[in-house]
């Protein structure tokens, strides 16, 4: 999100989901949309049915790529050179939106000069895609009246994730495809309330509504409302906690509804951290791999047993309604937090979640008009919604960017943290599958979902499988410099030769034992999409 926040001033999907099907050209990059965001994929396919052009940028032959007019099967980690090529061609073909650039953006000259210095043939060669194919995609997008750019973790989970996003923003501004209805830049959010958790300030550097902890005015406001002295020092990010607890002087952790033992890279390091903590408390609905390391485990109520709101990918704040009483002796996370707070001498008195939302609305301009009674009408509200009479905002940056003018920030290619070599010749990529969600704690408890997708599969190209003598469905040892796992193979041309792909939903094949600890320096996103790996047959 850091990439969009600095260019546009707001790090969220600029469109509504329903706008996507109105676009006439859609680019999908680093998103396995049909499996990870099925309803958004449906809109994209509807748009294609209605004659929209679709450009898919992905090293793998994903299902959505079958609907593409152009599929740019780049080498993993070469998004920036590809986007730079596309922009240079748009410049050469004179398809730039001069008026938009002049009126709404700044720093264009720096981007233009960088693009003119580019050697097109050389840069195209870096991506592994023919220049002719890139030209087709560039012309298609350049001529769009309503262009939408959707991307997902295939863009952000790289060492250069922030620069990848900036390049996408550059392309959108260059062609004037933002600030208008049915055009925009759409980061698809992976988890049901990842947008809301960010909005609510579950981040180390901001209060709710992205108000900086280092900003004295914001700090004073929250300090007065909460009647407490607040720290102005930005806190530790997740990986700074789970990987570097000792360096950062961490002695205790409280974890609510997360499973870093499976979701964070370099599992051994996370385990070491949890074992070394003086105190670890976990609240969860299942005894996850993380909860097993804790000193105290609180049984939490699931989404069906409580009320509140989730914010979806299109910034829509919607109701979650209680269907049944909490199971067994479990309690809602709100109850656990308020009880704990009372135990530490700070009373938080709320009768119901609606009252909590009143406090959120009071302190957070983005959510200023989000009251539970209003959210009950229609289908929730999309932020920004500053006051009770505001109808919500279907698309962002109408007439002007949140930060004023859109900022062009040119970027150039960066090699991944760990390129393949003789010892570890494969590029290993990770992602999600259709039937499971995140670390699998919920979906794997469903026997039907587990029946459909019972185990982790390692996708390998037939050419590589032949060379190594690996059969389809055979268990192999997959290793990287961090460790090794045993995993079942699936021979398929969805991956190119030299690449491997698997998912992170299965604790029996914890791919995070393998993934690399390097992160994007700005957004601190781990480089899940590429690391060097080796595959060996198991000798019997």
């Amino acid at each position: 999100m850091a990439g969009l926040a600095t260019t546009f001033g707001s790090g969220a999907m600029t469109n509504s989901i329903s706008e996507i099907e109105q676009a006439d050209v859609i680019i999908v990059s680093g998103s396995n949309t049909t499996e990870a965001h099925p309803q958004i994929a449906r809109r994209i396919i509807d748009a294609v049915d209605g004659s929209a052009g679709l450009i898919v940028i992905d090293p793998r032959k994903t299902d959505i790529s079958k609907f593409a007019s152009v599929h740019l099967q780049i080498r993993p980690g070469t998004d920036i050179p590809l986007l730079n090529c596309i922009m240079r061609i748009i410049l050469d073909e004179n398809l730039v939106d001069d008026v938009f650039i002049e009126m709404r953006t700044e720093n264009y000259v720096v981007l233009r000069d960088m693009l003119y210095r580019l050697d097109l043939d050389e840069t195209a060669a870096e991506t592994g895609v023919s220049l002719e194919k890139i030209r087709r995609a560039a012309k298609l997008f350049g001529r769009a009246h309503k262009g939408v750019f959707c991307y997902c973790l295939g863009i952000t989970q790289h060492i250069c994730g922030t620069d990848n996003v900036r390049s996408i923003a550059n392309l959108a501004m260059l062609t004037g495809n933002v600030e208008k209805q049915d055009t925009g830049v759409d980061p698809l959010r992976g988890q049901n309330n990842v947008q809301g958790a960010c909005d609510m300030g579950a981040l180390p550097n901001v209060f709710p509504g992205y108000q900086g902890v280092a900003d004295p005015t914001a700090r004073e406001k929250f300090s007065r409302a909460w009647k407490s002295e607040l720290s102005d020092k930005p806190g530790l990010t997740l990986l700074d906690m789970t990987h570097k607890s000792r360096e950062n002087g961490l002695h205790a952790m409280f974890i609510m509804g997360e499973n870093p033992m499976l979701s964070d890279p370099v599992q051994d390091k996370v385990k070491e951290t949890f074992d070394s903590l003086e105190f670890l408390a976990v609240a969860d609905i299942f005894l996850t791999e993380t909860a097993r390391c804790a000193h105290v485990v609180f049984p939490a109520a699931s989404f069906a047993e409580k009320s509140g709101t989730f914010t979806n990918s299109e910034r829509r704040v919607q109701h979650v309604r209680q269907a049944i009483e909490p199971i067994g002796d479990s309690r809602t996370d709100s109850e656990i937090i308020t009880d704990l707070s009372a135990g530490m001498g700070y009373a938080m008195a709320y009768d119901n979640p609606a009252e909590i939302m009143e406090e959120i609305a009071m302190l957070t301009p983005l959510y200023g008009g989000m009251h539970h009674d209003r959210l009950n009408e229609n289908w929730g509200l999309q932020w920004p919604c500053p006051d009770r009479n505001h109808p919500g905002t279907p698309y962002l940056h109408k007439h002007s960017f949140t930060r004023g003018k859109g900022l062009f920030q040119p970027a150039s290619h960066q090699e991944p943290g760990e390129p393949p070599d003789e010892q570890y010749p494969f590029k290993l990529m990770t992602g999600r599958v259709y039937h499971h969600y995140h670390t699998g704690a919920m979906t794997r408890a469903s026997h039907l979902l587990s029946r459909e997708c019972p185990r982790a599969l390692l996708e390998i190209n037939p050419e590589d499988a032949d060379r190594l003598g690996v059969r389809d469905g055979e268990y192999v040892t997959l290793s990287t410099r961090r460790g090794n796992i045993t995993i079942c193979t699936k021979i398929t041309d969805r991956v190119q030769p030299g690449m491997l792909y698997t998912s992170f939903h299965f604790h029996e094949a914890p791919v995070n034992k393998l993934t690399i600890g390097s992160v994007d320096p700005t957004a601190k996103c781990p480089e899940y999409k590429i690391c060097a790996a080796r595959l060996e047959r198991i000798q019997s």
Binding site: N193, L236, A252
Partner: protein, 133 residues
């Protein structure tokens, strides 16, 4: 049979789902016809949204580690032990010695409360969640 309109918890699309309940048990899920995202449609994860709710593996009682193993405890003991431990560590090592991980699966209200607890009670900004994963 009762029907509760709620929001699906399995991805960022945020589809409108009806949970079907019978005798205090959630027994089915079905899409909302008019919801702007789902429009009468759900993916396989949405249709099976209710499957995990009554799983026998759900945690139903607090657990505390004693002599190296997690054993059932009552709420008061678990809450007391946590409050005392956090207070002690904050006093001995300072507020920044405590880290908090919030959740992209919990509600806005819960995320708000947890960051408020972290900032106003523990008095540190050490809070994050897995937005980057």
């Amino acid at each position: 049979m009762q029907y509760t309109l709620t929001t699906c918890a399995h991805c960022g699309c945020g589809c409108g789902v009806y949970l079907h309940t019978e005798n205090g048990r959630v027994v089915g899920s079905a899409p909302s016809k008019n919801h702007p995202v789902s429009r009468g449609n759900l993916c396989v994860k949405g249709w099976h949204l209710h499957d995990f709710i009554h799983s026998p593996h759900r945690l139903t009682t607090p657990l505390i580690r004693k002599n190296g193993v997690l054993v059932p405890a009552d709420w008061e003991e678990a809450l007391d032990f946590t409050a005392t431990s956090l207070t002690r560590i904050k006093k001995d090592h300072g507020p920044d010695a405590i880290g908090v991980v919030s959740s992209a699966k919990c509600t806005n209200e819960e995320n708000f409360l947890l960051q408020k607890f972290t900032r106003a009670v523990l008095q540190t900004n050490n809070i994050d969640h897995c937005a980057r994963l």
